[in-house]
Symmetry: C2
Subunit: 540 residues, 2 copies
Amino acid sequence: MNPFEIDLEQNAANYTPLSPLSFLPRTAAVYPEHTAVVHGSWRTSWAQTYTRCRRLASALAARGVGAGDTVAVMAPNTPPMFEAHFGVPALGAVLNALNVRLDADTIAFILDHGEAKVLITDCEFSEVIKAALTQLGRDILVIDIDDPQAAGGGERLGEIEYEDLLAEGDADFAWKLPDDEWRAISLNYTSGTTGNPKGVVYHHRGAYLNAVGNVMTWGMTQHPIYLWTLPMFHCNGWCFPWTITAQAGTHVCLRRVEAGPIYQAIAEHKVTHLCGAPIVMQMLLGAGKNERRDIDHQVEFMTAAAPPPAAVLRAMADAGIRVTHVYGLTEVYGPAVVCAWHKEWDSLPIEEQARLKSRQGVAYVVEEGLMVADAETLEPVPKDGETMGEVFLRGNIVMKGYLKNPAATREAFAGGWFHSGDLGVWHADGYIELKDRSKDIIISGGENISSIEVEDVLYRHPAVAAAAVVAKPDDKWGETPCAFIELKADAAVEAAEIIAFCRENMARFKAPRHVVFGPLPKTSTGKIQKYVLRQRAAEG
Amino acid sequence: MNPFEIDLEQNAANYTPLSPLSFLPRTAAVYPEHTAVVHGSWRTSWAQTYTRCRRLASALAARGVGAGDTVAVMAPNTPPMFEAHFGVPALGAVLNALNVRLDADTIAFILDHGEAKVLITDCEFSEVIKAALTQLGRDILVIDIDDPQAAGGGERLGEIEYEDLLAEGDADFAWKLPDDEWRAISLNYTSGTTGNPKGVVYHHRGAYLNAVGNVMTWGMTQHPIYLWTLPMFHCNGWCFPWTITAQAGTHVCLRRVEAGPIYQAIAEHKVTHLCGAPIVMQMLLGAGKNERRDIDHQVEFMTAAAPPPAAVLRAMADAGIRVTHVYGLTEVYGPAVVCAWHKEWDSLPIEEQARLKSRQGVAYVVEEGLMVADAETLEPVPKDGETMGEVFLRGNIVMKGYLKNPAATREAFAGGWFHSGDLGVWHADGYIELKDRSKDIIISGGENISSIEVEDVLYRHPAVAAAAVVAKPDDKWGETPCAFIELKADAAVEAAEIIAFCRENMARFKAPRHVVFGPLPKTSTGKIQKYVLRQRAAEG
């Protein structure tokens, strides 16, 4: 053993588990009076926010929540959702933010599979949550968020309201980091290709590093003003609850992602950064004159899911908003790949800029490996911009694995790389570009829809003999599900009935928008030729 | 065990040891043509720099250097010194950058204690190195740097010149991260309070995190242009070789830190960032008209060691340079504490701004703990701005420990905190302010001088009965050593002889500038009252 390995062990002075929990007490100590969270007319300073998060942790602990317990939250981008990103892990518990667009069946499945001990739920969603809890069939602690800024209409379902819970808590609750940076910090369900969603587990180390990676990638200075257009239930808002806190910024909440309120927030609060699917950009660009506000400062917009077209980029630039294109999946904490910009590209024609920016790009500085390779052999494809392969990632911002699903975890990590399931090419300059998704995911308004899940429902309809669902390009939503259906002999049904049947049996946003009847194109071995259907959907 | 701990282990897909070695291949891949290193008329792109670092690693490996071996470098801020920060650890070896101002005795001690297997040395220092190697008395591989941009005059001592060594190396050498992020990356000797310097060991995790911390603290965007005024042999240049590389910036080298070349580099290369002791600021402000250049862009200057006075801050602002005040020690990778600025302070009178900025501040975001506490009990002092205590730090940017010195390591980490040895107070807003140094360190021109080391030499002079060395404030150097001497009865000696004697027996810069003869003030128990001497030195 060389001398550098002797008598130089880790100890309390020189080693602390990495955790984004460290960011909050530091920011509260250094900038106690700085505005932390804005929600309409409501605002808290960093000192107050830290106190509220300690109260949340303390009150949950007093009610029996402890290390390794799951706390689910069903809420839009409001202060409680933000506070849960700190208050829940501060007691060693695991945050499970639920997609508010999911149906009762799926929510019941997630609460069951994730073993939620607590559900904090915004009254807006009381109807679907009530149904989910009935289905769940076991008692859990339910805490209502009765947001005075909500439109109203929902009902309280739980034992206590969120603000009353905080009042129970101890403002001096001892803030504790995890004993190990590999401990779970959150659980995010992804719509997989099979019927049931998979629970992606994040650890403290990865959450810390992705937060840091966002700062480095975006070149963030102190005090960013961040508008919450991206749902926090998507990959923990791409880790921005932690990122913005580390930089002592301000979180501007938003219950509804609509053009008017977004413009108003940007103008009023001098928002510097926001994220969202391309539909948010389109919403901004399509806004009416009375919704728009003049923006006289630089705004940065991070987008993913689909490459921004040239016209959109130009219009965004005209509106004073610079677009950064990133790529990621739930399994990699949100963004893990960025189309890192080259200054010299600024002088190219806008169409050429758009072509360059439409590429997903290169690994985040905190990610270690990115490649396009043969899906079976993991042999990298040539960097010729033509040879298709699967996209693989590795490094510290790759999930811990899938909860209670060792087979899926093993499969996802086979060969020491995370298998994204996305297909793409590798350009000569090392930038990757997605070309297709191997797992038949349709991305509609930033939400993933599994075509297989939709097909499963269609097959349950008594008139359906065969069904295939593909993405249909859509100006507003990016893509929408389009169903191709072969009916059983003598069966007769209309498109509207099929769509209604789907809406009854899954989340509304997953239901097909278009239904086309007729024989399905098949290979000689009987496999449905989806690429033919994609062409038809695009043309039709 | 809760489900989050089952079947969710670390593997090659989701865990990579943190190391700044990751930054170089990424930057070389994303920005291959971007200028990486400038040295006079010489420049390399990031692709070339990566190749050169691989060649260095490969050539050293071929000559038998391996994991855990020490590679010492004696050089000013030139490309080889920078490249050693990547090429040496890339083969698992440990970089030991030597302070070029040290004397042969101390260098021989360091090469011996650090077990250097290789010495890469700039010809400028051949005289002192020749003497050190003779003293060392064992053969090591010596590699000369014969920099065409040097003033010349030195001689080659080694087997091979640096560029010839690189030519031996393999440009495709496989870049390997350490198998464990706790492995040593570098060794930095600090002048301790006892005669021999201590070898501070840095690990890859800490180097990575401090690099990231610099980016976050300074709000660095992509492509900073960094001027190397701070020696890389000081705490690995405060980790900026790694920081700037992570952000795909440009390193502008500098053999001599002089006003003219600094202004010229700032103007010519549009330097955005530089670091240095206060003497560098004074040098800039005291520059003659013919040395100055107009600066029409924002320049950021990070300084440590002594608080910048109001006049200096104002003059720097007038010159277009914003000053950030940091604090650290070799043991914490350089800067670990920053006087985090509040925007509202901008509107205060400049004297008040200077008072606020003269405070050392708060912990870096990547450091976990900072406190002023009782040196014995580690009980934090009240935040009253008055009660003195010792400064303690803890977290991931605290050294691995002292090489082959478990007693000193244990002492430094007693109670789970790093004992800085610096004394200060804690203000109500949580900012610390240094008031004195408990270990009698004199900081002269940014270099630490141990008063005890100087006293040890003085005591060796036959005429000296008792000696005490304290810091004397100095307009140019910040502080200089001032010796107070009680002569033996009947002994007679002049100040000039004492100073000459010191210069012969230690590095020139450590020798006292002033010598005062007379009886030393002592306590009733015979302890020399240094605070009395400090007053006299300040007045005299």
